[in-house]
C-alpha cells in the first residue's frame, strides 16, 4: 500500500515509517504540520493515511481538520487517525460524511503491530476501525439510543465488534460463535436498523454509522 504518515514527533514518525516498511508497505510522504498533511494527501492520494490529531503550528486539532478537509476534496480517502486520546466528538465528525474508510485509534495501538496493520488494511479497503475505548463509551451511554434499544444484547455486542472493524470470522472467534451464527445476527441487526443495501461492506459502514451517529 502507498501510505502518507503525518506526525509531528520525530521519534514516533520514524518508528511508524520503519514499522510500515517492515510490513512491506511504501511510505510515499511524511508531514509534520496540518498544512503539509493536507498538501501531501491531495498530491499523493495515498491508499491510506495515518494522521495525528494534534499538530503544529497551533498544537490543537490541526491534523483532524486537515484530514476532514482532504476528505471533502477526495470523498472516501481512507484515513486512520492516531491520537493520544480518543473523543467521541471527533469520531462522529469523521464518520459524518458516511463514506467509510475511517479509523480512529489510540497511539498505543501500534504496540500490537499485527492488529495495527490489520486495522490499516481494513480502513484502506473502505471499512471502519474504531478504538475499543470509543466503543466502550458508546455502550455505556447507549441507553439513550432508541434505535439500538431494539437490538438484543448479543446483537449489540456483534455491532460493537463490527464497529471496531472486525470481520465476521474475527467476531465469531471473539464471541465463540460460528461464522453462520454471526451472519445471522448481522442480517437481523441490519433489518432492525433499517439498512437494506446489498453491498455487504457498505452495509457494515452504515450500521456502524447508525451506531455512532444516533444521539
Amino acid at each position: 500500500m502507498r501510505i502518507v504518515v503525518a506526525e509531528d514527533l520525530y521519534l514516533l514518525r520514524d518508528g511508524m515509517v520503519r514499522l510500515l516498511e517492515a510490513y512491506g508497505h511504501e511510505v510515499v510522504a511524511t508531514a509534520t504540520t496540518g498544512a503539509e498533511t493536507l498538501q501531501a494527501l491531495l498530491r499523493h492520494r495515498p491508499d491510506v493515511a495515518v494522521v495525528d490529531v494534534r499538530m503544529p503550528p497551533t498544537q490543537s486539532d490541526e491534523g483532524l481538520r486537515a484530514a476532514l478537509a482532504a476528505r471533502r476534496e477526495l470523498p472516501g480517502l481512507p484515513v486512520l487517525i492516531l491520537s493520544q486520546y480518543v473523543e467521541q466528538l471527533y469520531a462522529r465528525e469523521l464518520l459524518a460524511d458516511g463514506s467509510g474508510g475511517i479509523g480512529y485509534f489510540l497511539k498505543d495501538s501500534v504496540f500490537d503491530a499485527d492488529q495495527f496493520i490489520d486495522a490499516l488494511e481494513r480502513v484502506a479497503a473502505g471499512g471502519t476501525a474504531m478504538d475499543p475505548a470509543v466503543i466502550a463509551k458508546l455502550l455505556s451511554s447507549g441507553s439513550s439510543n432508541r434505535r439500538l434499544e431494539r437490538l438484543t444484547e448479543r446483537e449489540r455486542s456483534v455491532l460493537g465488534l463490527m464497529a471496531e472493524g472486525l470481520s465476521n470470522h474475527a467476531i465469531g472467534q471473539r464471541l465463540f460463535l460460528s461464522d453462520s451464527a454471526i451472519s445471522k445476527y448481522t442480517t437481523s441487526l441490519f433489518g432492525k436498523l433499517g439498512i437494506t443495501d446489498d453491498d455487504n461492506n457498505n452495509r457494515r459502514v452504515l450500521a456502524v454509522l447508525a451506531y455512532l451517529n444516533n444521539p
Binding site: 494534534r54 490543537s60 493520544q84 467521541q88 466528538l89 462522529r92 504496540f111 451511554s141 441507553s143
Partner: protein
C-alpha cells in the same frame, strides 16, 4: 372616585413616611436642642454649666449616628429600589491559640468574651465609616429633614390655625392644610437621593472591602492550587513512575534471559508492553484531569458537547457557538459542568440533563452556564464538598453560583462569570 381614593391613599402613606423621615433625621438635632435647653436651665452664671451639655452633645451624636444611618438605609431599601451597601468594617474571627489565650486581631485576651468585647469597640472606633455617618447626620436634617417636615408642619399649622377664631390664624391654617395635602406624596422622596449621595461607601472603603475580598480569594486559590499539585505529584509517583520502573526491570530481565530462556524472555516482553499501555492510560487520565485536550483544541462549547457525549445521562447542550473565552475561565466552567454532571449521576440519580451556555442577555459581558437535571434534588453545599469547590473555583474570577435544589428535584445550577473579553 377610584382616582380620588388612590390619591388619598398616596397622601396618607406619604404623610406617614414624611413624619418618619422627619423624626429620624431630627434625632441628632433634637439632642443638640436638648443640650442647649439644659445649658440655659442650668443657669447662665455658673462657669461650669457648659460641661454637661457638651458631654451630652458629643456622646449623643456619636451614639446616634450609626443607628440613624442604619434606619435611613433600611427605609430607603424598603420604600424604593435603591439598595445602599453599609460598608462597615467587619470584625475578623476570634481564635483560641495553643496557649489558651484568645486573639481577636488586635490583642490577646484571657476569655473569648473579653476578646469579643475588645474587638467590637476597636473595630467600631477605627471604622472610617464613622466619618461618613457623622457627615450624613449633619447633612440629613438640613436637606431631607427640612423637605420631609413640610407635611407634618403644614398639618400642625392647620390644626392650630383652624381651631382659632381669628381670621388671620384661620387663613394660615388653611394654607397649612393645602401645603400638607399637596406635599405629602412627594416630600419623603427627597431622602433617597440624599442617602444615595452621602451614605454610599467612599472609594476608600469600597477599595478596602475589595482588598479583603481579593486577599481571601488569593488564599483560596493558593490552597486549591497546592492541593492540585500534590494530587498530580502523588498520581505520577504512585502510578506512571512506578510502572515505568517496573517496565525497565522487566526489560532488563528479559535482556538477561534472552539467550538462556527465550520463552520466558518473550513473556516478560509481553508483560512490559502491557505495562507501557497501562501507564499511558494513567498518564492520559491525569492529563485529562489537568487540562482536557478537547478544551484545549476546541474551547468550552465543544468540550462540553464532548462531555455530554461521554456522560451516561441523556444530555442536551445548547450553546452560543461563537463563544471563545480566556482559557482559565473556560477551564473553570468546564470542570464546573463536569462536577455537576457527575453529581447528577452519582447523587441525584438523574436520567437527563440540560446544559446551556450563553452570554447574559442584559449585560452581554457575563457568561452564564445553566445545568439542570431531573434528579431527586436536595443538593446541599458542604464545606469540603464539590459544590463549595466549584464556588471557590469561580470566585477566583468574581464568578457566582446559584443553586436551586428543592428536595424531590429538579436541581438547577447557574454559574455566572463576568468576562470583559466577550
Amino acid at each position: 372616585m377610584r382616582q380620588l381614593g388612590s390619591w388619598l391613599a398616596r397622601v396618607g402613606v406619604g404623610f406617614v413616611r414624611a413624619c418618619v423621615v422627619t423624626v429620624v433625621s431630627l434625632l441628632v438635632p433634637a439632642v443638640w436642642a436638648a443640650a442647649v435647653a439644659l445649658g440655659i436651665w442650668w443657669g447662665a452664671g455658673n462657669p461650669w454649666s457648659w460641661v454637661a451639655p457638651f458631654v451630652l452633645v458629643c456622646v449623643g451624636t456619636l451614639a446616634l449616628s450609626r443607628p440613624v444611618c442604619r434606619m435611613v438605609r433600611f427605609l430607603v431599601a424598603r420604600w424604593t429600589t435603591s439598595v445602599i451597601p453599609a460598608g462597615y468594617r467587619q470584625a475578623p474571627p476570634v481564635t483560641q491559640l495553643s496557649t489558651g489565650y484568645w486573639w481577636n486581631g488586635f490583642s490577646y485576651e484571657r476569655t473569648s468574651r473579653d476578646a469579643l468585647l475588645d474587638q467590637r469597640w476597636r473595630v467600631r472606633w477605627i471604622d472610617p465609616a464613622n466619618w461618613r455617618d457623622l457627615r450624613f447626620t449633619a447633612v440629613a436634617p438640613l436637606t431631607a429633614g427640612v423637605v420631609a417636615s413640610l407635611p407634618p408642619v403644614g398639618a400642625a399649622a392647620a390644626v392650630l390655625g383652624l381651631s382659632q377664631p381669628a381670621p388671620f390664624a384661620r387663613l394660615v391654617g388653611a394654607v397649612g392644610l393645602v401645603v400638607a395635602f399637596t406635599t405629602a406624596p412627594y416630600a419623603w422622596r427627597f431622602v433617597e437621593p440624599v442617602a444615595v449621595r452621602f451614605l454610599r461607601p467612599t472609594p476608600a472603603m469600597a477599595l478596602a472591602d475589595r482588598v479583603d475580598e481579593l486577599t481571601a480569594q488569593r488564599a483560596d486559590a493558593t490552597v486549591a492550587q497546592a492541593a492540585e499539585i500534590r494530587r498530580i505529584e502523588r498520581d505520577l509517583h504512585d502510578g506512571a513512575q512506578a510502572r515505568l520502573v517496573s517496565l525497565g526491570l522487566s526489560l532488563a530481565t528479559a535482556e538477561k534471559l534472552m539467550e538462556t530462556n527465550p520463552a520466558q524472555a518473550k513473556a516478560l516482553m509481553r508483560e512490559a508492553r502491557a505495562g507501557a499501555t497501562a501507564s499511558l492510560t494513567e498518564l492520559r487520565d491525569l492529563v485529562r484531569g489537568i487540562n482536557p485536550p478537547v478544551l484545549n483544541d476546541r474551547g468550552l462549547v465543544d468540550a462540553v458537547r464532548a462531555l455530554a457525549l461521554d456522560s451516561p445521562l441523556e444530555t442536551d447542550v445548547s450553546a452560543d457557538l461563537r463563544l471563545r473565552l480566556d482559557p482559565p475561565i473556560e477551564s473553570a466552567l468546564y470542570f464546573g459542568v463536569a462536577e455537576l454532571l457527575t453529581n447528577a449521576v452519582k447523587h441525584a440519580q438523574a436520567t437527563r440533563a440540560r446544559i446551556s451556555i450563553a452570554r447574559d442577555t442584559t449585560t452581554t459581558t457575563t457568561i452564564v452556564v445553566d445545568v439542570e437535571d431531573d434528579g431527586r434534588g436536595g443538593a446541599g453545599e458542604r464545606a469540603d464538598g464539590g459544590l463549595a469547590g466549584l464556588r471557590r473555583r469561580l470566585t477566583a474570577f468574581d464568578g457566582t453560583v446559584e443553586i436551586t435544589s428543592p428536595a424531590g428535584g429538579p436541581t438547577r445550577v447557574r454559574m455566572m462569570v463576568p468576562c470583559e473579553s466577550l
